[in-house]
């Protein structure tokens, strides 16, 4: 066994494979507490319904909000919530980063021969996160049924692309906001503004935020590409801000740019990581 002369196979475990392995083991750990898991799943399911109830309450008073009808808004809610719920299931392990850094457990991430990002994303994975999927799936189904839309192949493709790009955009946001923990370990709550805040804002037609903020949410923090821009095309709605037509199809580009930024930021953070304590 004194075979230290044999060089180990140098290819590190592929990130996604490592991620799935870790997800499986964390799920096994979470299922040790069954009752709690069940109740928290129910709580998650219920929590995601709250915004939906709020939208229904609002539309009980008026017929349109920001120029959008109830089924249209529910379509926005459904797509953004679905993308967010999946990204939350996949990537919200990042939320534990501040604690990991504070307790020094991030050191342990860095001594393993797999991608640090894969380890952090999978951290404390729990099946309860799937509880967030139910409400958006059902709502989206209902909204699509209620919308007076003439579906074409192009619209269907954009609709599916909306959720996929939205999911990638949210994952990139999780990683970018995770980087806040490296810079200021106790400022973690600021991250919520960008993750949960973006999700909350995009449940509604972006037109309600007015032109300056609407443009900022398009070109600075590009959450308009999560659902708003592609959905304008699917719903056949003119852009209230009068932005050019090609932006309806720019979500993949926005997702790619934000993912690239997230990857760069993550790498910089690892390089400048200063381990705490002794």
């Amino acid at each position: 066994m004194a075979d230290t002369t044999t060089e180990p196979d140098d290819r590190p475990l592929w990130g996604p494979t490592a991620y799935l392995l870790l997800v499986r083991i964390w799920m096994r750990a979470a299922s040790q507490y069954r009752v709690s898991l069940l109740l928290t799943t129910v709580a998650q399911l219920f929590t995601t319904c709250l915004d939906l109830i709020a939208i229904l309450v609002i539309y009980s008073h008026v017929r349109t909000i920001g120029g959008f009808t109830l089924p249209e808004t529910l379509y926005l809610y459904g797509t953004t919530r679905l993308a967010f719920a999946v990204s939350d299931a996949l990537a919200s392990g990042v939320e534990n980063l501040a604690t990991m850094i504070r307790l020094g457990n991030f050191d342990l991430v860095l001594i393993r021969p797999v991608s640090s990002l894969a380890q952090v994303l999978a951290d404390q994975f729990t099946p309860k996160r799937f509880g967030k999927l139910a409400a958006p799936v059902l709502t989206l189904g209902w909204a699509i049924d209620a919308l007076p839309l003439h579906w074409t192949a192009a619209k269907a493709a954009v609709a599916i692309g909306t959720v996929v790009c939205g999911l990638v955009l949210y994952c990139a946001l999780w990683v970018l906001t995770g980087c806040i923990s490296f810079i200021a370990v106790d400022a973690q709550e600021v991250a919520n503004s960008f993750t949960y805040g973006s999700e909350n804002a995009t449940e509604y037609p972006l037109s309600i935020f007015g032109r300056p903020l609407g443009l900022a949410l398009t070109f600075v923090l590009p959450v308009a590409f999560v659902t708003w821009q592609p959905s304008l095309y699917v719903l056949g709605h003119p852009d209230p801000f009068g932005l050019p037509e090609f932006l309806r199809f720019a979500s993949p580009a926005a997702a790619a740019v934000l993912s690239g930024l997230a990857a760069l930021a993550w790498r910089a953070c690892i390089r400048h990581y200063r381990s705490t304590g002794s």
């Binding site: 870790l22 096994r28 860095l110 390089r271 002794s278």
Partner: protein, 268 residues
Amino acid sequence: MTTTSTTDPIILAEGLTKAFGSSPGRFRRRRTTDGGFTAVDGIDLRIAPGELVGYIGPNGAGKSTTIKMLTGILTPTSGLLRVAGFEPQRDRVRLARRIGVVFGQRTTLWWDLPLKDSFTLLQRLYRIPPDRFGENLAYYTAALDLGEFLDRPVRQLSLGQRMRGDITAALLHDPAVVYLDEPTIGLDVVSKHAVREFLSDLNQRTGTTILLTTHDIADIERLCSRVVAIDHGRVTYDGSIDDLRADRDLETVVRELYLGRSLVDTTE
């Protein structure tokens, strides 16, 4: 990548420095509360394959910072550093397959799961070939007496049992270099003895290079052929334990070390 031959040191540091707070990193511009201090200040270190070195010094001397640079956790501010031919921070993932790390105060095991599950996961993460993994696990189970608690959740293990589990976890992939940070801290006498015998055997049997930080004089006395002492981020003594002992008894020397006094005059 430099090619490693047997005569090359497995750990090579030249002028290794880590400064906190004052490095030109983009994030470190602002004044931090622990404002610019140099944790490790120009360390030179050559450790040959198969050596068992005790790395000692008072709290805050820079021991942990050094180990964190050697493992690739921290990026050095300046200086040259090679471990097994790799630049630790840059080649972190590849280096990780060749090193094992044990933190005495922290566990790398999965708290809520049986000990064995952590090992099987590590097999996959480190891509250990199944037959090699089986051999190693059988060996360490016998050598460290893990049999009776392999199927018990880690949270239910005693400190000594957990440490034995952590040591196994750090060795399953046959690392060429092992760092142990206070591996006997908080253990009872029997467990301490078992851990020491095991490490000594590991070093002699496999030629694994071991770097050990400890506050326990008995660890050094029993295990280390060479001692490197550090204080205020500088190496204050580097030599054989016999040379240290020739002059005065080891206990006094170590006690002085932990009070932070330099050894240089006393050994000359």
